[in-house]
Symmetry: C2
Subunit: 158 residues, 2 copies
């Protein structure tokens, strides 16, 4: 029986290693988390195709501790909330939601991508996923530039 | 003695009515309150001289209830956090803080201005006040347009 369990454990573990990264949960309640910073990305910016609009960064309590420490604990979640930017009459107003980007830290669960799970939820959907199994190439590759800051671009605006 | 106290109470009350409005406290901790919405006001906008830059609106828990109800309870505090907007290389980034505007609800304390105390704290100061005794003309007069929404312009962005 013991040998059977050991074999089973090995098999499960091997399956986990070979499988797609674990699904990142939708960040329920993030609109009431702390607001880290905002930025507007306009036509002509190199990231416009992916991130054009006005975005807000939010942090849950564990992520807030991470911004202070420069290293994020398991359970830290950072949200990148991208909205359309309506630029008219000398003002930029927020429009419809384009995507809710998420970074969710768990050193073991997302070991292959620096301990971060990445996902994007389309528009106002909590289930339509824009990233899925492509996190390594679609997200983490660029975030690797920020390895010294635990792969996070944003900083807490005082 | 009873008559003396009554006379004293009347005198104090009369003084309170004639005096400047009560000072609005600095909104300690607002950076961790809920983020309501943001907007960029650019050169050429009619409010640019006063409110040019990027601003964020934050709400404490009582103010959140107010946004839902359309009527704000005593103790509701709304913050208007105005930062410089650095518009370059096809992006708008946040710069230095210009003013922390505050609306603080107390129906009795600020009865003369719709139950709202108004103040502006200059830059990153918690003590330098931009409004003081001028709240009626400098703030409330314009907010009166929004009387049907308890004098509040902003709405909660979902």
């Amino acid at each position: 029986m013991k040998a059977l369990l050991a074999a089973l454990a090995t098999a499960v573990s091997a399956t986990a290693l070979a499988a797609d990264p674990a699904a990142v949960p939708y960040p329920e309640g993030y609109r009431n988390w702390s607001h880290v910073k905002a930025m507007v990305i306009k036509p002509g910016h190199p990231l416009y195709a992916s991130f054009g609009g006005i975005h807000h960064i939010y942090a849950n309590k564990k992520a807030l501790a991470g911004y202070r420490a420069g290293k994020f604990p398991d359970g830290a979640v950072i949200v990148f909330d991208l909205l359309e930017a309506k630029d008219e009459a000398n003002a930029v107003q927020e429009g419809a939601r384009k995507v809710v980007g998420v970074m969710h830290k768990d050193a073991k669960m997302w070991a292959a991508t620096g301990g971060w799970g990445y996902e994007g939820f389309k528009g106002d959907s909590k289930t339509e996923r824009a990233v899925g199994a492509n996190a390594a190439s679609a997200c983490h590759e660029c975030h690797t530039q920020q390895k010294d800051r635990d792969f996070v671009f944003s900083t807490w605006r005082k």
